[in-house]
């Protein structure tokens, strides 16, 4: 890369493989994660495209049923554990958390690098499972299918996910300790950017939920390898127990996936409407509320699994409750826009698309939380559409918003604004074309995870498959213009968006230890209403604040 031209920045600290692979600089570790996650994103995406091509016709003509099972299983495993869970925290979070709180690095820089190596080690197992012949259990590894009947490389894939869990826990511990111990003078909890709050909430969930997933995956591997039948009724075990343990992790895990996205949007919306975030404390606290409530709703995945009707009613009620903090956020974001001077740069476009798509997916979640409706749409494309509206329409869109928003800070280069706006719009159109038809299909009763379907479903399936192609173009475009900008992009100023936040007060790209002078914070987050902000340079050592 042509960063030798940027002396004094973290990018000038050496460019050989050793300088990158043995770095403990959180900014470089973020790049290691970004490169590996991008590879996984396109690998998982390619599998999705294959599935959509297969589903363009009712007959199973492109791949066999067995291959199709492996495609959707690996798509899910790769996208959930090797992209979505680490996505924003390990890349943007890693890069920005110390910058945003005015620290030189994360609390444990070596642990941070180690987490990447653990991630890569775990991903080797998953990749081996892909190459060796795949897994056909779905990403959920449900027993007894996964323990007794599946003939793929279940243990290998489960072990890979288990190892990646350690990487998640390491990142979580690092973030929690960093937020507690390394905030700059004057940066009180209620002056933290919402992105930091959401990373904190995410880390709590990572640390407390991931070990339960580890436990359930250990038990699966023990059953397959050692014959200890915790989930096997023949040996006295209980297959339903797995679902309880799995969803005890995996429902909080969807909040691991969405919370950081909410944080990104909370940074972008105020910046491009030049308004302070509406209801800052409510947004911060609702992040924590989501993290707590998220642990109490796992039973809504099991309404038709034979759990007791009373448990079903309680889980249904709690699932409605978890929608409240999410709704608080959506209303606060909308009110932030009110009377704002809105401009539509690419990050803002992505953030606005997030707002719409997240609302749309979230409302469908309320349908699914209702017991009777869930019995009707359970295991149909309605669930697929709901999940993808949150995870792709929400999380991936927010990820793109954040990547564009902080790209000048990370690279010191500006990307092509026109290309980025086109890509954002193409993504939005492609996304809705792909997934809206799936709501219709699911409500009409098309079940998930089949490679054939009755001909009356073909119209909506063709729309969805066409949308997948558009969506793929929307995601491939940034790959090209962002990489191009690394070499040819114009030099970025320190604060191209006139944003508040400590990360914008240091140079672009930042120096190795982030700040030439350690900053002191004197105002609340998102002080976009303060007069003359756009002309005011930050003064890191203001005397009166040091008290």
């Amino acid at each position: 890369m042509s960063h030798a031209a940027m002396p004094g920045t973290y990018l000038a600290e050496g460019s050989g493989p050793r300088a990158w692979l043995l770095t403990t600089d959180h900014k470089r570790v973020a790049w290691l994660y970004l490169a590996s996650l991008t590879a996984f994103f396109f690998l998982g995406g390619a599998m999705a495209v294959l599935m959509r091509i297969e589903l363009a016709t009712p007959a199973g003509d492109l791949v066999s049923d067995d291959t199709y099972n492996r495609l959707f299983s690996l798509h899910g495993i790769i996208m959930v554990w090797f992209f979505l869970v680490p996505s924003i925290p390990a890349t943007l979070g890693n890069f920005l958390l110390p910058l945003m709180i005015g620290a030189r690095d994360l609390a444990f820089p070596r642990l941070n690098l180690a987490s990447w190596y653990v991630f890569i080690f775990g991903s080797l197992f998953a990749l081996f499972a892909v190459v060796a012949g795949g897994v056909d259990t779905g990403w959920t590894f449900y027993t007894p299918l996964s323990t007794l009947y599946a003939n793929g490389f279940v243990s290998t894939a489960a072990f890979g996910v288990f190892i990646v869990g350690f990487s998640t826990i390491m990142t979580g511990i690092n973030f929690i300790v960093t937020v507690h111990t390394l905030r700059a003078p004057g940066l009180t909890w209620f002056r933290l950017p919402i992105f930091v709050w959401t990373l904190y909430a995410t880390s709590l969930v990572m640390v407390l939920a991931t070990p339960v997933l580890a436990a359930s995956l250990i038990l699966i591997v023990l059953e397959r390898v050692f014959g200890i039948g915790i989930f096997n009724p023949d040996l006295g075990g209980d297959p339903l127990l797995f679902q309880h343990l799995f969803w005890f992790y995996s429902h909080p895990a969807v909040y691991i996936m969405i919370l950081p996205g909410m944080g990104v949007v909370s940074e972008v919306l105020p910046c491009f409407s030049r308004r302070p975030l509406f209801g800052y404390k409510a947004v911060a606290m609702s992040s924590m509320a989501i993290a707590v409530f998220g642990f109490l709703v796992w039973g809504h995945h099991m309404f038709v699994s034979g759990q007791s009707a009373y448990a079903g009613v309680v889980f249904s009620f709690l699932s409605f409750c978890v929608a409240i903090p999410s709704a608080i956020k959506v209303f606060n974001w909308s009110l932030t826009l009110r009377k704002g001077e809105i401009s539509f740069e690419a990050p803002m476009l992505y953030a606005l698309f997030f707002l719409g798509l997240f609302t749309f997916g979230g409302l469908a979640g309320l349908f699914l939380a209702a017991l009777a409706v869930d019995v009707h749409v359970h295991d149909t494309y309605f669930v697929i559409a709901h999940f993808h509206y949150i995870m792709v329409g929400g999380m991936v869109t927010a990820y793109m918003a954040g990547l564009h928003f902080w790209w000048p800070k990370m690279t010191g280069r500006l990307y092509s604004e026109t290309s980025a706006r086109i890509a954002a719009t193409v993504t939005f159109v492609g996304f809705n074309l792909t997934f809206f038809p799936q709501y219709v299909l699911g409500f009409n009763g098309m079940p998930r995870r089949y490679h054939t379907y009755p001909p009356e479903f073909q119209f909506w399936n063709v729309l969805s498959s066409a949308g997948a192609v558009v969506l793929a173009i929307g995601y491939l475009m940034p790959l090209f213009y962002l990489i191009w900008s690394l070499f040819r992009g114009a030099r970025a100023p320190d604060n191209p968006w006139n944003a508040t936040g400590l990360e914008w007060q240091t140079s672009s790209p930042p120096p190795p230890h982030n700040f030439e002078t350690m900053p002191v914070v004197t105002r609340p987050a998102y002080a976009y209403d303060m007069k003359g902000l756009e002309h005011e340079r930050f003064s890191p050592h203001r005397e009166e604040a040091a008290q």
Binding site: D105, I173, L182, V207, A215, L219, L222, L241, L245
Partner: protein
Amino acid sequence: MSGTESVAFDTPRRERRADNFAMWVFIGSEAMLFGAIFLVFLVAHIDFGPAFAAASKHLSLPLGTFNTAVLITSSFTMASAHRLALHRRWRATIWALAATTALGACFLVVKGIEYGKEISEGLAPLLGLPFRYAGPDPVHAEFFFGLYFTMTSLHALHLIGGIVVIAGMIALWRTASPANRLRRVVAVGLYWHFVDIIWVFMFPVLYLINR
């Protein structure tokens, strides 16, 4: 930035507090791991209480009790190491740490003897070994022994981890500054006590319940 391992901290004191806090967060995470497995056990115990009680009588109470005493003693030596390190009595600290690892190893040896005894009696439902259980409800007794081996081996793995870390700490002792020595002893000590406490819960649940 001098005297700290991480560039992020200004003073060793702040770094030690952060380390301590990180270890507590990690222990919270570990508690969820063991919590999940304990939950499985308790749910199964509610369903198959009599079978579990009968199967539990086939475990060796004397060896289990002996091991409990060994681990509690190791917690005492670990706590002594912490005290001694606070007073910078480094030589004595090393001895206390060595005693801790020795007691941990002793626990593992006794556990291994117990495993050997159970396998030879046909009470180990793993790797296709013959399961020759004579008591009532052998299917659910098999479930009990499956859980027993899962829980105790998971605990033993944690103990091995602790021994390896303490051994590594002793190996790096000469090169570590006094601040780093104290920081590491405190953090590893927390972990060691946690692993002991897990056993303090595991012992009554597996060996003593309904006896």
